[in-house]
């Protein structure tokens, strides 16, 4: 283990950077959503206040819960997200891969859902159980399309698996510029919408149906870390898409502006989707992903294999 890994992990682009950016982007989300609804929205540092406030609240553990699992689930999920963001960010900003490749990232992201389910379901709450069931169904729904989306850049870069390798393969042409790339990119945005459980796919934590589902029994610091890791996904997933399809960031001169624009574009598209759709039913989501998004992604893959 080299010492700079600690820097990558804890400062940039890991914990500190992703955490801060996530909290800020979370505010952007709330602010833009509010503008959509003719409202002013919260102050800019609202999510920081929320986070620190939750740290000071009581942690309630239900009498039926497995306390150790209940408490450690959010922290494991959080660590996993930090790790993945550090891996993606390092490849993006420094061109260095460590830890794992695309397949590892994909499987690590599954761990988040696992933790949501384990943490939620061990409380014995009936809503959490339903939420856990929905979470895993949603994972099934989007996973198939997500695998296809991830395979497209792998195929296009000549079967390179490592993150920096895929980035390097885009030196002579961004993948998003090709037909297969753009289709996969669009499906990818839908997939991360579902992975982040944003409306219309906020089925597992549907507040008006099952009262925040798996997160229902959480309070205090564990809840704070759930929220934080969820907000950090606002960084992780768009970065992953940019890395895979949009050539990463070029942080020099005008490149910085481009980088911010790229990132904001994805975020704003996601916010728009979020605000112009009602929550769908779980079977509708399954149908949508399996019968529409997956064939579309398959077409992208076919195009990619054919070299388009």
């Amino acid at each position: 283990m080299r010492p700079e890994y600690l820097f990558y992990l804890l400062v940039f682009p890991g914990l500190l950077f992703t955490g801060t950016l996530g909290l800020v982007v979370g505010c952007v989300d709330r602010k833009v959503s509010a503008r959509f609804q003719f409202r002013v929205g919260p102050p800019f540092l609202q999510n920081f206040n929320d986070f620190f406030k939750l740290l000071g609240k009581e942690t309630i553990i239900t009498k039926e819960a497995v306390a150790s699992l209940f408490i450690s689930a959010p922290f494991i999920a959080f660590s996993m997200i930090v790790l993945v963001s550090a891996m993606i960010g390092t490849a993006m900003f420094f061109g260095v891969s460590f830890g794992g490749d695309v397949i590892v990232v994909m499987y690590l992201l599954m761990l988040y859902s696992v933790m949501v389910i384990l943490g939620g379901a061990c409380t014995g709450n009936v809503y959490s159980s339903i939420g856990a069931g929905r979470e895993i169904k949603l994972l099934l729904a989007d996973e198939l399309a997500f695998i296809l989306v991830l395979l497209v850049p792998i195929v296009k870069s000549g079967y390179v698996l490592s993150l920096d390798g895929i980035l390097a393969a885009q030196q002579d042409g961004l993948f998003i510029g090709s037909a297969s790339g753009i289709i996969a990119f669009i499906v990818g945005i839908l997939c991360i919408q579902a992975k982040m459980t944003l409306t219309p796919f906020d089925i597992p934590e549907a507040e008006t149906e099952i009262v925040d589902g798996p997160f229902m029994e959480y309070s205090g610091p564990p809840l704070a870390f759930w929220k934080l890791s969820h907000l950090m996904m606002w960084v992780t997933f768009p970065f992953l898409l940019i890395l895979l399809f949009w050539g990463g960031f070029n942080l020099s001169g005008l490149g910085i502006l481009w980088a911010i624009l790229k990132y904001l574009l994805i975020v704003v598209v996601m916010i728009i989707i979020k605000n112009t759709n009602p929550r769908v039913r779980i079977d509708t989501a399954l149908n949508f992903f399996w019968k529409y998004a997956t064939p579309l992604a398959l077409i992208a893959l076919i195009l990619a294999v054919l070299g388009a």
């Binding site: 609202q46 000071g56 609240k57 309630i60 997160f215 229902m216 959480y218 809840l223």
Partner: protein, 139 residues
């Protein structure tokens, strides 16, 4: 605790407990979140689970069936947790005080920290009340 209270004052998540009201206060509470009044400006958010709540907005006269549940809800809320009584009902019983089905003493059920009287209180009135709470926290 000053620093923490400031954070708390800026991030109040409210949970809405309707204990047999006439519905009007509830509607006005929701109205607070909508474009005209937009309480999110103060960082106030409506949450669905009691575990996430910082403030309970209580409305209504607490009939005998709902009273014990409100008590239970209050115990299940993570502390620090404040209770705001919205409307005349929790304060004085309004026109229902002659009924046979109400809890005698709301004070024993749930300690109300702040009353916002009115039938129903105007949204401006409620905002003023909540700002008072925020001021107390900030002091």
């Amino acid at each position: 605790m000053g620093w923490y209270n400031k954070r708390l004052a800026k991030s109040i998540w409210v949970f809405h407990v309707s204990a047999s009201p006439c519905n009007n206060c509830d509607i006005e509470i929701l109205d607070l979140l909508t474009p005209r009044y937009d309480l999110e400006r103060f960082g106030i958010k409506l949450v669905g689970s009691i575990r996430h709540a910082d403030v309970l907005l209580v409305s209504g006269i607490f009939n005998q069936k709902v009273g014990p549940r409100v008590q239970q809800i209050y115990q299940q809320a993570p502390k620090p947790c404040f209770v705001v009584g919205i409307g005349t009902c929790p304060a004085s019983g309004c026109c229902f005080k002659d009924s046979y089905n109400i809890s005698k003493n709301i004070k024993d059920i749930i300690p109300i920290n702040l009353y916002i009287p009115g039938c129903p209180p105007k949204p401006e009135n409620m905002i003023a009340g909540i700002v008072k709470l925020v001021e107390v926290l900030n002091a």
